[in-house]
Symmetry: C2
Subunit: 198 residues, 2 copies
Amino acid sequence: MENRGTIQHLINELTKLPGIGRRTAERLAYFILKEDGGLGKSIADAILDVKRRVRFCEVCGNMTEKELCEICEDNRRDRGLVCVVEEPKDVWALERMGTYRGLYHVLMGAISPLDGIGPEDLRIRELLNRIEKERVKEVIVATDPNVEGDATALYISKLVKPLGVPVTRIASGLPVGGDLEYADSVTLSKALSGRRPL
Amino acid sequence: MENRGTIQHLINELTKLPGIGRRTAERLAYFILKEDGGLGKSIADAILDVKRRVRFCEVCGNMTEKELCEICEDNRRDRGLVCVVEEPKDVWALERMGTYRGLYHVLMGAISPLDGIGPEDLRIRELLNRIEKERVKEVIVATDPNVEGDATALYISKLVKPLGVPVTRIASGLPVGGDLEYADSVTLSKALSGRRPL
């Protein structure tokens, strides 16, 4: 059918998004076509806006619309504290907490040989440069508590420690409000080995 | 964070799509931001293209880029046979089959009082006009085999029969290649009551 060309093209493009299969893409494309409240145009505009205006902070790699992100620009922040995370969205998560007052460093991923991501694909060199140039007093590694995140944390600590800067890792254990009975055994063993004096 | 405005706007727009929650929208927006192969722009363009070029056939309601869809324009089609479906994507499904040579009529939904969709919201009036004007010999109702689709089929048959045109309904029963043992009892009872002489 001739009319399938245009809509088929949209379906093909949508399937390139993560977690969007052919069925979902068909449903979305069809919804966009049928909907007449201007949602299609506003989504297209929002995508173009994001691609045009949002970029990554030259220092920490966080999302920004300027050269430096507002966290790096904020002089009330503790510039001696650098929290290393995998993705800009992890910065959002930590900022929502509202209590951390240091700076960040976004790696843009984690070491994952299976996905072909090595240390040279991450912003680790930039981190070492920052530590050498600025007076960093502590590096907190807040990569995800999984195999890739732990490997990345270990790799970073081996590079940073020789520079004389202490490296810490966020705690793994039972989530607050969780139930011991339902905790998986890996988390439970992490919680046990990470026990602290009361 | 100032930079969250633009990306937050995209996330908000994406959550308006069916089946896209906040988490998925965040993941998609973030992927679009990070990806640098031009996917963002090509999705935006594809959406605008669909909204600009694709519309609904004036006769049958199928998708088209012209006034009439190519099925309605095709003179080799049996113009006496009209297959009534709920959505344009149902036309695709039937066309994939490759054996139906009649025309279609898309209702743009099914009667569903719970969702506030009554007969007047569907293209039923247009169907009756078509039957009166054109020489339709049979109306095949191929709405979905569920409560809404069955109610719609019944409603249409009551309006079309007085015009002297036979109305048929597609068969419900066990899917080909299915297993009797695993069939649900409603489907099984439909298959039994719809039995045909061998």
